[in-house]
């Protein structure tokens, strides 16, 4: 039996095709460049996928909220690169207006300027920015450079604005007005345009200043003989509004 088994196994040989395939495979696998290239390509592809995914995520993630307020209000979600990645309108009429104004994926200052023109043909809009402190400062700087009137709102107050259903700018204006006139409610502010809120603020401030600064303006005016006294007199004489404020300014200037 030993001999038969030996003979049977002796007939088993590795054929030339198998040997050649093995040699070819070994040549491919032991050649350094082909071995490294697939690894390098794999790492490069992996890095590309990771970077693309991370970049896409970073791009789509809002890092700031920008509110553009005039007769109507629009809120923009702005990513860390300063691009608009979301738009929120507070009524259907504004939505139609925004639909006609391309803002998505535009630089936020350009988008805010375009919306400012679209929302108010005469007065221009106010822009309110809310973001983390460092980012907010950069946005304010960019907005100022673009000729926009920008205000900052801290994130907590911005959240309160959202809770109240008001845009950031309108909520900021509401806070200013309610400080002067506590009878004003959020609902009242919601129904008013920014122009109307600002008029109310001006009215309250004008009333307060007129009463408070009256003596100062008068005293200064009396002490001056220059043209500014006319100005002071006009202000004072006009009653309780902006004139009183003018009187105060000139009075201090000449002391």
């Amino acid at each position: 039996m030993d001999e038969r088994i030996r003979q049977a196994f002796d007939a088993v040989r590795a054929d030339e095709d198998l040997k050649q395939k093995t040699l070819d495979a070994l040549e491919r696998r032991t050649c350094p460049a082909p071995r490294r290239r697939p690894m390098a390509a794999a790492f490069a592809a992996l890095a590309l996928v990771v970077l693309t995914a991370a970049g896409g995520l970073a791009y789509a993630t809002p890092a700031a909220a920008v509110s553009v307020d005039a007769d109507a209000s629009v809120e923009l979600a702005v990513n860390a690169f300063g691009r608009v990645v979301g738009v929120r309108c507070y009524d259907e009429a504004t939505q139609a207006l925004v639909d006609a104004t391309p803002v998505l994926h535009h630089d936020w200052t350009q988008a805010a300027a375009a919306l400012s023109d679209a929302l108010s043909e005469t007065d221009g809009a106010t822009v309110t920015v809310s973001a983390d402190s460092g980012h907010c400062e950069r946005l304010l700087s960019d907005g100022g450079a673009a000729g926009l009137t920008c205000y900052a709102l801290d994130p907590e107050t911005a959240q309160a604005a959202r809770d109240a259903g008001l845009s950031l700018g309108k909520y900021r204006a509401y806070l200013a007005l309610s400080a002067l006139d506590p009878t004003v409610t959020q609902a009242d502010a919601g129904e008013m345009t920014m122009g109307e809120i600002q008029q109310s603020i001006d009215a309250c401030e004008g009333h307060g200043y007129g009463q408070g600064q009256q003596g100062s303006g008068q005293g200064s005016g009396q002490s001056q003989t220059t043209g500014e006294t006319t100005s002071a007199g006009q202000g004072y004489g006009a009653g309780q509004g902006a004139g009183g404020h003018h009187g105060q300014g000139h009075g201090y200037g000449h002391e």
Binding site: M1, D2, R4, I5, F9, D10, A11, K21, T22
Partner: protein, 149 residues
């Protein structure tokens, strides 16, 4: 490669039942041979190295590789041995349980003793003796009147 290709081929025949798996084992074994840096003490040492590396590669392949596209035993032996007489013996050996086949091949073809097979397979020498005795009995049974011992 010519020196050990037949040895690797026979071990693959004993362990595997697929041409594709045999090709994989060839590449694995000869790549390891190319990467082997320590010098062999002699030809016997080198041959023993080939046997162990091939058996380990076959075991790893069977353990981890899902692909076990086997071919029928008759087809396998027909490819391996053209003579009908050799074919029937190969069929008898390859139809043995796996634990016997390595020992049979190493003992009857390569001429290793039971202690040497024990070293190569990592088995106790007495176990190898037992495997060889039982394998011989099974082969007698399978080969019937053809075999007189």
């Amino acid at each position: 490669m010519d020196t050990y290709a037949d040895l690797v081929q026979r071990l693959c025949l004993v362990r595997l039942k697929s041409r594709e798996d045999t090709e994989d084992i060839f590449q694995t074994v000869f790549l390891k041979y190319l990467q082997h840096t320590k010098p062999f003490e002699n030809a016997e040492h080198e041959k023993a190295w080939f046997i162990q590396v091939t058996l380990n590669a076959c075991r790893d392949l069977l353990r981890f590789w899902a692909r076990h596209a086997t071919v029928p035993l008759e087809e396998l032996t027909a490819q391996a041995a053209p003579e009908p007489r050799d074919r029937s013996v190969l069929e008898a050996v390859l139809s043995l349980p796996q634990k016997y086949r390595d020992a049979v091949y190493l003992h009857y073809y390569e001429g290793y003793s039971a202690p040497e097979i024990g070293d190569l397979l990592g088995r106790n020498t007495n176990t190898v003796y037992t495997l060889l005795t039982r394998a011989r009995a099974l082969l007698r049974e399978k080969l019937g009147g053809e075999e007189d011992g």
